[in-house]
């Protein structure tokens, strides 16, 4: 009877051992990519560590075997159980040492797991079991346990419970085996009370982990922003998160980086100045989107611009950037400037209803990542914008990356042409975004890139401007269709282009 119980525990112990290995492998390939490399190196390290464990098991004295086995079960349960969550947290908060922690955990767990089977065999051996029979049974159940988990893990556990909770479940199993063994062999065990206490504490820790794993990983994923979150708010339209690390303020909308204060000047100077500098007579400007006020800040550098209308959907966004001192320091209080009128409305709807005409129009709307947003980059939308533009005016459009999404970028250019605009595509390197694209458009053909700027600039000068308007040999124009409302070619290009970039 006791032998049978021990054999059953072999089955469970073996399941748990393989589970930790699989979790580590899955997590590594999930977070680091290159799954073949991750899986084989994790399995290798794990098996190697099990060898070490087997070797170490010889130093356990015969009279301590049961006690050590129980200790090891408790330790494996505790460390293995929290391993996945720990790794998530480490990856989220401290990216660099992730590999170190990963392999350290794999080696520790592997070593402990490697000691389990030799110790069980010694317990059975001490109980005078037939050696031939004993080895056969132990190894049979060892491998059976492995088979069970290798099937359960990908088919049921990982998809249903997720990695973090799966690890806690197996941790609980290990601790359960420890306590069960302690109970069965209570007559032969020393320090039973301390052992029970340790076991119960482990149980509590693991159960708590199991229950909060969801929140912990969420917390960890939010930690993926990397930096301290100084503001987070969910508005009817989006989730606004602002982070700070040293002097770097970052804005994320729905998890997508909108700017980093370290290099946003590149983006906003490029978006605004080629158009604004080329129209010294400009009196009025319209900004669609851009609730952070950073494009406004650049426009306000031109004293001759008398009125600027900013149309941004989200009043919480424009209020935040008008009131928070850290943010007004960044945009220079642009949203409070008397020349600026902030309209919280849907830009497309506002264009339909307004009759106003502007000299400059700056379009800083979300990327065309779905059918609804794709319509903002369509021929009818650009015709609508044209109705709000003075004959001599300029339009500048943010148009995703010509490097990562060349088909999408050039589709925007083609669409503007189809809408009757003359276009001057250009691009700038914004380190936190990579190579970024813009399109300058006008109803006339007079534009030439500025040679100098009358307003102070940090990024733009004659040389960078010349480089912006020239596309090197590896960024040539692909053959693309314009974006029509009824086919939404742009959304398809955008999806296809970015899917080649993002793993």
């Amino acid at each position: 009877m006791l032998d049978r119980i021990l054999i059953l525990s072999v089955f469970i112990v073996a399941s748990c051992g393989l589970a930790y290995e699989l979790i580590a492998g899955a997590l590594a390939s999930y977070l680091l990519g290159d799954s073949v490399l991750q899986y084989s190196s994790i399995i290798g390290a794990y098996l190697f560590a099990m060898g070490i464990g087997s070797h170490l098991s010889r130093y356990v004295r015969d009279e301590d075997v049961l006690n050590r086995f129980i200790d090891i079960e408790l330790l494996v349960g505790l460390i293995g159980g929290i391993s996945a969550t720990l790794l998530f947290l480490v990856f989220a908060w401290l990216e660099a040492p992730f590999r170190g922690v990963l392999y350290a955990l794999v080696l520790i767990i592997g070593t402990l797991v490697g000691m389990e089977i030799p110790l069980v065999m010694r317990v059975l051996n001490a109980r005078h079991a037939e050696f031939r029979d004993m080895v056969a049974r132990v190894l049979t159940f060892d491998y059976l346990g492995a088979l069970a988990v290798s099937l359960l893990f990908p088919l049921v556990l990982a998809p249903k419970l997720g990695l973090a909770r799966t690890a806690f479940v197996f941790g609980l199993l290990n601790v359960g085996i420890a306590l069960f063994t302690a109970h069965i062999f209570r007559a032969q065990i020393r320090g039973l009370r301390g052992l029970w206490l340790r076991g119960l504490v482990s149980m509590v820790v693991l159960t708590a982990g199991l229950l909060t794993a969801d929140r912990l990983t969420l917390w960890a994923e939010q930690g993926l922003f990397g930096d301290q979150i100084v503001h987070a708010r969910t508005t009817p339209y989006q989730r606004i998160v602002i982070t700070r690390w040293q002097d770097d303020l970052r804005l994320y909308l729905n998890g997508n980086l909108q700017f980093s204060s370290r290099d946003e000047h590149r983006y906003h100077e490029a978006l605004v100045h080629p158009a604004a500098e080329s129209l010294p007579a400009a009196r009025s400007a319209l900004v669609l989107g851009g609730g952070d006020g950073l494009a406004l800040r650049e426009l306000l550098r031109y004293p001759q611009i008398e009125r600027i209308t900013l149309v941004d959907l989200d009043s919480e966004m424009t209020t935040l950037f008008a009131e928070s001192s850290a943010l007004t320091a960044l945009n220079g209080g642009a949203l409070r400037d008397p020349r600026v009128r902030v309209v919280n409305a849907d830009a497309a709807q506002w264009l339909e209803e307004s009759r106003e005409v502007f000299d400059l129009v700056i379009v800083d709307l979300p990327d065309p990542s779905n059918f609804a947003l794709g319509k903002l980059y369509s021929v009818p939308m650009y015709r609508q914008i044209a109705r709000h533009m003075a004959e001599g005016g300029y339009l500048a459009v943010q148009a995703t990356s010509p490097w990562f999404a060349p088909n999408a970028y050039w589709c925007v250019v083609t669409t503007l042409k189809e809408a009757g605009f003359n276009t001057w595509p250009y691009h700038a390197h914004v380190p936190s975004f990579g190579e970024w694209g813009f399109v300058l458009a006008a109803k006339h053909t007079r534009f030439t890139p500025p040679q100098s700027y009358r307003v102070p600039t940090r990024f733009l000068d004659a040389d960078t401007t010349r480089a912006m308007f020239s596309f090197p040999a590896d960024m040539q124009v692909p053959e693309v269709e314009p974006n029509r409302l009824n086919n939404q070619a742009l959304v398809h290009y955008f999806e296809r282009d970015w899917s080649r970039v993002i793993r």
Partner: protein, 547 residues
């Protein structure tokens, strides 16, 4: 059992039990409209006698009775050709099956909601769309350019089947691929195919179709029987054919002539320079927009001699001494006498049969020649928020977003259309309107209509909400601000087997005298192209006489 299965089963039980087994969400306020019912039933009950003595009189060259698509097209064509001396009498429901409601972003159809790209033969539709600025360039070009705002934007349609949404109405999964292909191949082969008389076998408008008896013989059997005969067995293909018949003709494939069934699939051959073949034109309030635009192009004035628009319903039409005389009932129980040299009767034939004196003399015997009409419910659900669509279960699963037209294979209705789909917006509007359509099962005994006339609003609501509940569950109810249900009990003529050889319809189509008929009923089924065709023909007839 999945949640949705449970829901479906629950609903089935509900309609039988007539009381709800569980207390559920409170229902939103419902308004029910029965356009034309009062006037129609008064005609039925009162006959052509005893109308109040006319208090006014109008004299004109042409009077058009009814302002649905046929009537408006006739008026539009007359005006376009320079004819001014006519009167357009609205009838009980201006716009008829193209009526719409709501304001601003919440405009919605209370009738038909789309128009397929017109085929080469639909010269009249092309000319109208061109004049309205919806079709650009040469209106008769093989592949004209269409206004993008009017073409349905992606996602055009999706089908809920087996617990999730699919992006095509013709199901791909769970369907016999060979049958699917065979059917599509057969239909494609018929497009452009001509009969022995050199005309297209299945043309839109149907009047331009071939008279080849070999093909018109299809009219002897139902579309369902034809599918059986051709050895189509797949349940999903049958569902699709049945759905298409219900969607266009208001009844299932068992009650529709095989010729009409094939006509649906074969005749929509319109191409565009800037859209795929088979694309659709739509507006937030459906066909209300183009029909209103047509009216806007008629230079109506409020005096004798100019084109005039009058509210009122014709209750009596007769010929007296070479003139046509109409009694029109107006608001407040007053009536008006209209004398005209020519009449265009643009009302449904079951109404005309009670209004126009001497229909038999035209060769039309209502008892033998009237086609049955299907009953429809059009329900507009005004929502304070968009309901939550299923979210992807993993990063790699792609869940179809809300489409313009959303159909449920297990639904008893025809699905629902999103009125705000065509808007261009940075964020989707907060509120929207879902228009749910339901064609009621074919009923030769008129029990359905009697039920509809007296049904409580709550009863009708349960009936029209079925599809939406299947898609969203009870979570829908808190989102619904209000529901307006339009009951179209005599919505559309059904092209039942044998409809092609209906002698009464042929007689009315060929009528060439002071009274002409213009209505989609002449074709046997109700679509914009057919209604407009008969309005166009009537206008041409009148104009031809004048010159």
């Amino acid at each position: 059992m999945r949640r949705r299965d449970f829901l479906g089963a629950g609903l089935g039980g509900l309609s039988l039990a007539a009381c709800e087994p569980f207390p559920s969400q409170p229902r939103p306020p419902v308004t029910v409209h029965h356009p034309g019912m009062q006037a129609g039933h008064a005609l039925r009950d009162q006959g052509t006698r005893n109308w109040p003595e006319p208090t006014g009189e109008i004299d004109c060259d042409v009077a058009i009775l009814g302002s649905g698509v046929a009537g408006v097209t006739a008026a539009w064509k007359l005006a376009r050709e320079g004819h001014r001396n006519f009167v357009l009498l609205s009838g009980p429901e201006p716009g008829g099956n193209t009526a719409g409601g709501g304001q601003g972003e919440l405009r919605h159809p209370t009738g038909a909601h789309y128009l397929p790209l017109p085929s080469r033969e639909s010269v009249h539709v092309r000319e109208i769309l061109h004049a309205l600025g919806i079709l650009h360039g040469d209106p008769q070009a093989a592949r004209p350019h269409y206004d993008e705002m009017s073409l349905v934007h992606p996602l055009q349609e999706r089908l809920f089947d087996g617990g999730r949404w699919h992006d095509e109405l013709l199901p791909v999964e769970g369907m016999n691929a060979r049958e699917r292909e065979r059917f599509q191949h057969y239909v494609a082969g018929l497009r452009g195919k001509k009969g022995r008389d050199g005309r297209l076998l299945f043309a839109m408008p149907s009047a331009s179709s071939s008279q080849d008896s070999e093909w018109r013989a299809l009219d002897a059997l139902s579309f369902h029987d034809w599918l059986q005969r051709e050895d189509y067995r797949d349940a999903r293909l049958h569902w699709y054919a049945d759905y298409c018949c219900r969607d266009d003709y208001g009844v299932g494939s068992q009650h529709v002539s095989a010729w009409a069934g094939l006509h649906y699939f074969v005749s929509r051959t319109g191409e565009a320079a800037n859209a795929d073949t088979g694309s659709l034109l739509t507006w937030p309030d459906g066909l209300h927009t183009p029909v209103q635009a047509m009216l806007g192009q008629i230079p109506f004035v409020d005096e004798a001699g100019g084109p005039r628009r009058l509210a009122g319903t014709a209750v009596q039409v007769r010929q007296r001494g070479g003139r046509c005389e109409v009694i029109a009932l107006q608001e407040g129980g007053r009536s008006l006498r209209i004398r005209a040299r020519r009449l265009i009767v643009a009302m449904p034939l079951f109404v005309a049969a009670r209004v126009v004196e001497g229909m038999q003399d035209f060769g039309f015997d209502a008892r033998r020649h009237l086609l049955p009409h299907s009953s429809w419910l059009v329900a507009n659900f005004q929502l304070r928020r968009f309901p939550r669509e299923p979210v992807p279960r993993s990063e790699h699963e792609y869940v179809l977003p809300l489409a313009w037209d959303n159909v449920l294979r297990e639904g008893k209705g025809l699905g629902y259309v999103v009125a705000t789909h065509q808007l261009i917006r940075v964020a989707r509007p907060e509120r929207t309107v879902f228009t749910a359509y339901k064609a009621l099962p074919f009923d030769a005994t008129h029990a359905t209509r009697r039920r509809l006339a007296n049904a409580a609003p709550g009863e009708l609501l349960d009936e029209v909400a079925e599809d939406l509940l299947l898609a969203y569950g009870d979570a829908l109810w808190p989102l619904v601000e209000r529901v307006s249900i339009t009951v179209r009990a005599h919505a559309m003529s059904i092209p039942v087997p044998g409809f092609l050889s209906n002698a009464g319809l042929t007689a009315l189509r060929e009528l060439d005298g002071p009274i002409r008929f213009a209505h989609s009923d002449l074709s046997g089924y109700s679509v914009f192209e057919e209604a407009a065709w008969w309005g166009w023909q009537a206008a041409l007839g009148v104009l031809g006489e004048r010159s």
